[in-house]
């Protein structure tokens, strides 16, 4: 019995240590670099004349055509990323009636003599890249167990705590 208690104590302290680690490791709320919200690479294009146009905050026609060809919305404004050389944010205006705010949509980065076009959006990663990244066809499941794994770990811990609380309150027979 004593050995069993020792093993249980060791396991419980291990679990507590893990949970403290988890609490430290959780991404900050709104962290743009947390895994599901990261950008997704769309395509790359030669950067010969386009870079100068981007530097003057003009969206090149070539780039517009590429977006159009792939079925993506057209950006209407481009802006340099503050403090970064060779990186631009492109904005798209929302077409909904009650919500016409512009949205940060594309991220253009110069790499060598190529321009890489990335796309910011939570939805892209979740819907379009999810199956590719996790190998699971069900959108809800990879959200639950992979992208939001910390959340589900906490939910399981809540259920466990509920069970332990009922054991402590109602089980009055001496042995556990």
């Amino acid at each position: 019995m004593k050995g069993l208690s020792t093993i249980a104590l060791i396991l419980i302290s291990l679990l507590c240590a893990l949970f403290i680690y988890v609490a430290e490791d959780i991404p900050v709320f709104g962290d743009p670099n947390s895994p599901p919200i990261k950008y997704v690479r769309l395509f790359s294009i030669d950067a010969d004349a386009l870079e100068n146009q981007l530097k003057r905050s003009v969206i090149p026609n070539n780039l517009m055509d590429e977006f159009e060809k792939r079925g993506f919305p057209r950006p209407f404004r481009v802006e340099k990323v503050t403090g970064m050389e060779g990186e631009w944010n492109a904005f798209v205006s929302k077409e909904e009636i009650h919500y016409s705010r512009e949205e940060k949509y594309y991220w253009i980065k110069k790499k060598g003599d190529k321009l890489n076009i990335y796309r910011y959006a939570f939805v892209v990663r979740w819907i379009e890249k999810g199956q590719e990244e996790t190998g699971t066809p069900n959108m809800v499941t990879y959200g639950l167990a992979d992208y939001r794994g910390y959340d589900t770990l906490g939910e399981t811990a809540v259920i466990f705590t509920a069970g332990i609380a009922v054991i402590l309150l109602l089980r009055r027979r001496g042995k556990l």
């Binding site: 679990l15 190998g135 699971t136 809800v140 499941t141 910390y150 589900t152 399981t156």
Partner: protein
């Protein structure tokens, strides 16, 4: 307690199928509707059906108290330990709960899919054991009170 032969026979026949269905729900969490929480609850409900229809003591014999207590924490340990294994196997490169680094297969995405399956099973074990444990505690209490009054 009065016993009904129809209820007993029907539940005796149906309980294995309910448990099989719960396992189906857990395993198919990755490809269809379902998952650990739902499957675990269905499995626990099959146990509760057994206890309601038959005796509570014979139900306790099917799932002893020690096994129930171990199972209720086992799922949580599998889940948390899987996250720790991800750090250990990637030698500190990968994050906690990044299943891709588990050495099941050579393919990163396959590993993630298998990690999701394992996590679903772990959730199912914990939910099932906690459901049954809460039900047993409530039911025992009632029986004790009845014994005291008579």
């Amino acid at each position: 307690m009065e016993r009904s032969i129809i209820v007993e026979t029907v539940s005796r026949v149906m309980i294995p199928f309910i448990q099989l269905f719960s396992l189906y729900v857990i395993i198919h969490g990755a490809s269809g509707p379902g998952g650990g929480f739902q499957g675990g609850v269905v499995f626990g409900a099959s146990f509760i059906l057994y206890i309601v229809v038959f005796d509570i003591t014979s139900g306790r014999k099917k799932l002893p108290e020690s096994v129930n207590t171990v199972l209720s924490s086992l799922g949580l340990f599998i889940y948390a330990g899987l996250g720790l294994l991800c750090i250990i196997f990637s030698s500190g490169v990968g994050q906690y709960l990044n299943y891709g680094f588990l050495p099941f297969t050579a393919n990163f995405e396959e590993n993630r899919a298998l990690g999701i399956e394992l996590v679903e099973i772990a959730i199912g074990i914990t939910v099932m054991a906690i459901m049954v444990s809460i039900f047993f505690d409530l039911a025992w209490k009632e029986e004790n009170r009845k014994g005291g009054e008579e």
